[in-house]
Symmetry: C2
Subunit: 249 residues, 2 copies
């Protein structure tokens, strides 16, 4: 058995998320179907993380045990030939037997994209949240700075998750303006993210940017004493899993 790591990009628009479900199109379902054709048997993959319905990925990762060796340099093209055009495998490599796409992940990066043009740009509409108008980026950066570091992020998770440990390290939140300031990208890197944490933090930072929330209220939220400062959860389609980093690299 050959433990294999694949790197996957997808347009999440038409999927009910990454994780396989009965009777709903999922990225995992499409990948396992394609791998099943290649290996002529059922293959189960382990995703680095679940992404919600509508969330995109440029650097999702998944691992699986291959029953026989296919040259990794040929693997992406072989899998892509069996996938719909909105899922593209961008790389494959053999990894140590004890590698696990989820547990071996050391760091993840997400982006949230805001379309800042007055009228929404049609070719960005599936991949960004349209948000024209004034935003105080300095205030957003101050609030973002307060959130970075190692904290208990319990207040920044959506209900429906039941992880025991809600402590995470946010290495950075960068606000990057692109294309003549018409796009604002919020780029997050962290040790891991709680359920909907990026979307909740993004919604919170947008409220700060609009002057509807003070940075110190965000800090209070982090301490669990001001839950109303958290959110709202911004829509899924602006979110993209940019990368998953592994220790062994």
């Amino acid at each position: 058995m050959f433990n294999t790591l694949i790197r996957i990009s997808y347009d999440g628009t038409n999927y009910s998320g990454f994780q396989i479900q009965a009777n709903a199109p999922t990225v995992q379902g499409e990948l396992e179907r394609a791998l099943g054709v290649i290996y002529k048997q059922e293959i189960r993959i382990i995703g680095a993380g679940r992404t919600d319905a509508g969330v995109h990925a440029l650097g999702q990762a998944a691992s699986y045990f291959a029953p026989f060796r296919v040259a990794v340099e040929n693997l992406p093209q072989a899998i892509n030939g069996l996938l719909p055009s909105d899922i593209v495998v961008k790389g494959a490599e053999e990894v140590p037997e004890d590698f696990h796409a989820r547990f071996s992940a050391e760091r993840k990066a997400y982006s949230y994209t805001l379309d800042r043009a007055i009228y929404p740009r049609v070719m960005k509409r599936l991949y960004s949240l349209h948000l024209p108008g004034q935003l105080d980026l300095d205030a957003m950066r101050i609030a973002a700075e307060l959130l970075t570091g190692t904290h208990d992020f319990e207040a920044f998770q959506a209900s429906g998750s039941n992880v025991a440990n809600t402590k995470r390290t946010l290495y950075s939140i960068d606000l990057i303006e692109k294309q003549y300031d018409q796009v604002l990208s919020l780029y997050y890197e962290g040790s891991g993210f709680l359920y909907r944490m990026v979307r909740l933090i993004t919604g919170t930072l947008i409220r700060v940017g609009k002057g509807k929330l003070e940075a110190d209220q965000v800090e209070a939220a982090l301490l669990g004493i001001n839950p109303s400062a958290v959110g709202p959860t911004v829509p899924a389609h602006g979110l993209c899993l940019e990368n998953v980093f592994y220790r062994y690299e």
Copy 2:
């Protein structure tokens, strides 16, 4: 009656082109439906040019006679509220009575986008042609230079058109590399374009870039003595009507 010019962007993926047709979704059909709601009567618009099924636009233009005045600064938002999300009106202005979106157009700009990444980028797949591999941009630029200027472009039109005069002026063809050379954009400006002319020229230039056609064969094609040098017609989804320029501006 108030002659009104609107500027329109659209994702052409789900439309059978700009021009209205019975029993097929068209951009013109959607616009006329929305305008009919606003003006409470049937409105016919004149498009600056037809775009084929699947072709996109960032700067399409259309004019129509409004039966009463709606403040042009409010018009885009009003129309957009009645349009599907893949069509967005970006501007409106009142124009002289003798203005005609098609006949008054002095110049048009089109882009054709190539995704040069090894594996197709999922979020560009609807708006670019995936074309990895070697391309000799110098050779393409030489051939492009031969095509610019005022010529009879009869050889560079698809059958099915019946314009009397096939003389056009191509002001420029610029090959622009973007995003770390992973995108190649061919940007065309001309007095007007024959049916499928941009897609035929793009296909021809790609063959030059691949070393399958010499620049002087392109020149011979222009003189009508080498029709096999023309094309192929590249797919619609890489093409975008970028702008329509008017004299009165």
